[in-house]
């Protein structure tokens, strides 16, 4: 029976190895997009879809400014860079081509009958036609005038040039210079090079290729222009920085905790076998977890990897329980050793699996991936311990650990000895007092800007680019939806009227909407009607300027649509703003320089179909929501575990087993708050782990009795030290979220360890059964 089980497990492990080898060969894609971890909005699928499309398009944009004191050198370098980018195949197209108004004018010209600048429209609506006539005269007589006979024939009152000049320019500080967009600042001429990426900005492989290309080309450009300065921004750079930080940290943490764990085991057991076998169990756990997650999700997120690597701390708990049986003179064979710890390990792993199972229920993709990795990995480790250790660990090496056992026995004395009652009481009182103090300082912080820590140099470059180009990054925008594209344009026009008023009141600095470049059909029709008001003035006006011949306006009667315009120059932003999916037209209005979000939201609230979206605030709200979720899951875990304990220990004792963990979970946030760390979603996640681990400790205590008690507490002590060494390392992370997680784990595990024997030992349980 045992043989069959061992054989099956061996087959499973081999299968996992083969699968991983196969996937590595094909190339594993590591996901580094934090957004992929977040839940999708469930109450408004349409808005979520539109937002995703926008975020996706934005994330594929990359912007460079090539600067040099000498304008020609900057332009030369920029042209070379652009050419090389296109040739490398890393971008689908360049978006930095300047387009003089002439080209755009030529595209708009046939539809001029329905195009009026906002100012001219207002003038005609107010009945001030004479003003437009006077202006046309002024323009014709002025020096350096733009008027000529051909234009007057087709646009007598020169309304079309006014319209062209009134079009908003998104990158307002840049000026076209030939076919390049440039700006001069503090002695340097900067030339814009921007493009759309051909690959996934969040895939590590593509990031590396792109960054390598940029580095290479920078070297080539600097050869010709030693004073060259290159500024860059784009989601790809932030993601690459974050991913590398996460990978570096997980290798550092993984290596350190592995080294510390193995070192500790060697120190206590003075033999290589525990190290080798633990390594095997942990390694198989990570292997199977990795393979399982890849098989189920197709890819793996670096955050799931980071948590998975920290799995080492927990899997050792079970190995240590087994190996500490070396200290028991009565357990001679490996089978006997296993038999003694089997109940503890079984109940422990079951309760932990239940705890992680609760994570699977969370509607957060990221948490599910972490849960799957941990569930499969832990199960794999434990199966290795249960099925293979007895066969692999045949003879018992001589181990003397009298001193360690004496120390370990003290842990029990703390909770059982009558003479140490004062210490027990003192400890509990101190914990409660500190907890109360910390509770007063406890604040919840869901702000996503605090959870992230963006690399400073990148942020500085982004701000520099924003200042130089006048281009706003798109963190806040209005989402406009409607039943048809025309309905969306009309709603947009209402919204832009509100925005213009908001702009006058200083609530927002700039806004860019498709309707500013492509008026709705209704608006174009209305313009045509308004222009007819000028017809009575036409004869006199033409006589005054001495125009011979008949005017021949003949503009197109068809309403202009976005498809009629080339995506060049200022129009390059239009495809980005159209986030429609089939049958769901939707547009985005970009906002820049929003000074008061609530006031602006109030102004646009009564226009139906328009919603103000602020990405940072949205994520903050989501993190808050999921912090609450995590706490619910915590409660759910407790409820799910309790029946298991009742079946084994009875109602009262079952509750007592949960006590140390619950005390740890309750006391840890206030104590961590005393350290200056606010409570976040990541702290809540750490508490879920603290609960599982704490319950394991209490269970081990309750499955042991008599002379074996010091052995068990020694095993628990070693386990706690290993876990703290691995998760405690996370407290050194530069990422605030991970740092909070690590600190919570540190304090929580410490408390769970300290309180574990208070839940009693196995003797009482035996008494109950007898």
């Amino acid at each position: 029976m045992m043989r069959v089980a061992q054989g099956l497990w061996l087959a499973a492990v081999v299968l996992a190895c083969v699968y991983l080898a196969f996937r590595f060969d094909q190339g594993i894609s590591f996901q580094s997009n934090i957004l992929a971890l977040l839940p999708r909005s469930q109450w408004d699928l349409g808005a979520q879809r539109a937002q995703d499309k926008f975020a996706d398009a934005l994330s594929h944009r990359v912007v460079f400014l090539v600067g040099d004191p000498a304008a020609e050198k900057a332009e030369q370098a920029a042209r070379k860079f652009s050419r090389d980018l296109v040739q490398s195949g890393l971008v689908t197209k360049l978006t930095s081509k300047a387009s003089g108004l002439e080209k755009i004018g030529a595209a708009y010209f046939p539809y001029r009958g329905g195009l009026l600048s906002v100012a001219d429209r207002d003038t005609l609506l107010a009945g001030n036609e004479q003003r437009l006539v006077d202006r046309a005269l002024a323009m014709i007589y002025a020096p350096g005038g733009i008027a000529d006979a051909r234009l007057i024939a087709r646009d007598p009152f020169l309304l079309f040039p006014q319209y062209l000049m009134s079009l908003p320019v998104p990158q307002s500080r840049l000026a076209p210079d030939g076919d390049l967009l440039t700006v001069r600042d503090r002695g340097l001429t900067y030339v814009l090079v921007s493009a759309e990426l051909a690959g996934d900005p969040y895939a590590l492989a593509f990031q590396d290729r792109f960054n390598a290309f940029v580095a290479q080309d920078t070297v080539a450009m600097t050869k010709d222009a030693p004073n060259l300065k290159l500024l860059r921004t784009g989601a790809l750079f932030y993601a690459a920085g974050g991913a590398h930080e996460a990978m570096d940290e997980s290798s550092f943490i993984g290596f350190t905790s592995l080294a510390a764990t193995l070192g500790l085991i060697f120190l206590v057991f003075r033999s290589q076998r525990p190290i080798l076998l633990s390594f095997l169990a942990i390694g198989i756990g990570i292997l199977t977890g990795f393979a399982g997650t890849l098989a189920l999700f197709g890819e793996i997120h670096v955050i799931a990897l980071l948590f998975g690597v920290s799995l080492i701390g927990i899997a050792t708990d079970y190995c240590l329980q087994y190996f500490c049986e070396y200290f028991d003179p009565e357990a001679r064979t490996s089978n006997e050793r296993l038999a003694r710890v089997f109940p503890g390990i079984a109940v422990g792993i079951l309760s932990t699996l239940i705890g992680y199972f609760a994570l699977l229920l969370a509607p957060i993709p990221g948490l599910r991936e972490v849960a799957v990795f941990s569930l499969i990995g832990l199960a794999g480790s434990v199966l290795t311990v249960l099925l293979w250790f007895p066969t692999l660990d045949v003879s018992r090496p001589p181990v003397a650990a009298a001193r360690a056992l004496r120390l370990a026995a003290l842990h029990w004395s703390l909770w059982e000895s009558p003479s140490l009652r004062w210490l027990r009481v003192g400890l509990v009182v101190a914990a409660i007092v500190l907890g109360a103090l910390g509770f007063m300082r406890l604040t919840i912080d869901d702000d996503v800007r605090h959870l992230q820590s963006l690399p400073q140099p990148l942020v500085a470059e982004e701000h520099a680019i924003e200042k130089l180009t006048g281009y706003a990054a798109g963190a806040q925008f209005l989402l406009v939806r409607g039943s048809t594209n025309e309905a969306v344009l009309e709603t947009e026009e209402r919204a832009t009227d509100r925005l213009a008023a908001a702009h006058r009141d200083g609530l927002v600095q700039t806004f860019t909407a498709i309707s500013q470049f492509v008026p709705s059909a209704a608006r174009q029709e209305s313009n045509r009607t308004l222009v007819r008001r000028l017809y009575p003035y036409q004869a006199n006006y033409l006589a005054q300027i001495g125009y011979q011949g008949a005017p021949d306006p003949n503009p197109s009667m068809r309403a202009m649509t976005a498809a009629d315009l080339p995506p060049n120059g200022p129009l390059a932003v239009l495809p980005l703003l159209d986030v429609s999916s089939d049958r769901h037209p939707a547009h985005i209005i970009l906002l820049g320089g929003v000074t008061n979000r609530e006031a602006l939201a109030a102004r646009t609230a009564d226009t139906s179909g328009v919603r103000l979206i602020s990405l940072a605030d949205q994520w903050t709200a989501l993190f808050g929501e999921y912090r609450r979720y995590a706490i619910l899951l915590l409660a759910l875990s407790v409820l799910l575990m309790y029946p298991l304990f009742v079946s084994r220990y009875g109602f009262l004792r079952g509750a007592k087993v949960l006590m140390p963990s619950l005390a740890a979970v309750a006391l840890t946030p206030p104590l961590v708050a005393l350290m200056g760390i606010d409570f976040t979603f990541f702290s809540a996640m750490a508490l879920v782990l603290v609960l599982s681990v704490g319950v394991d400790y209490a269970v081990f205590c309750n499955e042991t009795m008599g002379a074996r008690k010091p052995i068990t507490s020694l095993a628990i002590a070693l386990a706690a030290v290993c876990t703290i060494l691995s998760f405690g390392m996370l407290a050194f992370s530069g990422v605030f979220a991970v740092h909070a997680f690590g600190a919570t784990m540190f304090v929580g595990i410490l408390l769970a360890f300290l309180f574990a024997p208070a839940s009693g030992d196995g003797r009482k349980r035996e008494g109950l059964r007898a």
Binding site: L101, R131, D134, R135, L137, A138, M139, I140, Y141, A142, P143, G144, G145, A147, D148, A149, R150, I152, A153, Q162, M165, V169, S172, A175, P176, D177, G178, Q544, I545, G546, Y547, Q548, G549
Partner: protein, 176 residues
């Protein structure tokens, strides 16, 4: 020459397809390095202010058009050209034009043709001819598309008095 120049002008614009030239008269003020104020008085009052920040036009006292130079970079070149032409200082023009001069010191003639890649754009200007004695007396601008501007300057004097406050305001209006 760094001094302010005031005078009158008579401008004849011959646009292709028009029966007769458009004639306007008025006064001008040139402040080298700052801008040009062109006040048409006949047939109707309108004012044009050209600075390196752009063009501003006022008709009947109200603002009719405002065109910043960032919209049309050719504009700042235009400003340089006009300023240089009026002040008679042709040196800066050599960057964008090929200059051929004839005549003597008190009766000279200069012909400017845009260079190929000058940014002024051969579409807007085919040639510009200036004639003058002490100051510029006559400017003929041939736009190359059949439109010809002829401007005659009269009563040019180096301004002795300072700028009037409303003139100062006009020159500063376009500044960001």
């Amino acid at each position: 020459m760094g001094q302010m120049l005031r005078g009158h002008f008579v401008q004849e614009r011959q646009l292709a397809g028009f029966a007769r030239p458009l004639v306007s008269e008025g006064s001008f003020l040139l402040v080298p390095g700052t801008g040009l104020i062109w006040r048409g008085e006949k047939p109707f009052a309108n004012t044009t202010v050209i600075t390196d920040a752009g063009i501003l036009q006022l008709a009947n006292g109200t603002e009719a058009m405002r065109l910043p130079s960032s919209r049309l970079p050719g504009l700042s070149r235009l400003y340089e050209v006009l300023g240089s032409a009026l002040s008679g200082d042709v040196a800066p023009l050599r960057q964008a034009f090929s200059v051929s001069s004839s005549g003597q010191a008190d009766e000279w003639k200069i012909e400017l043709t845009p260079l190929k890649n000058s940014g002024v754009g051969s579409a807007q200007l085919k040639s510009m001819t200036l004639e003058g004695s002490r100051f510029v007396d006559d400017v003929v601008i041939d736009q190359g598309n059949g439109d010809v501007d002829r401007i005659r300057f009269l009563d040019e004097t180096v301004a002795q008095t300072a700028l009037a406050p409303d003139e100062k305001k006009l020159l500063e209006t376009m500044r960001p």
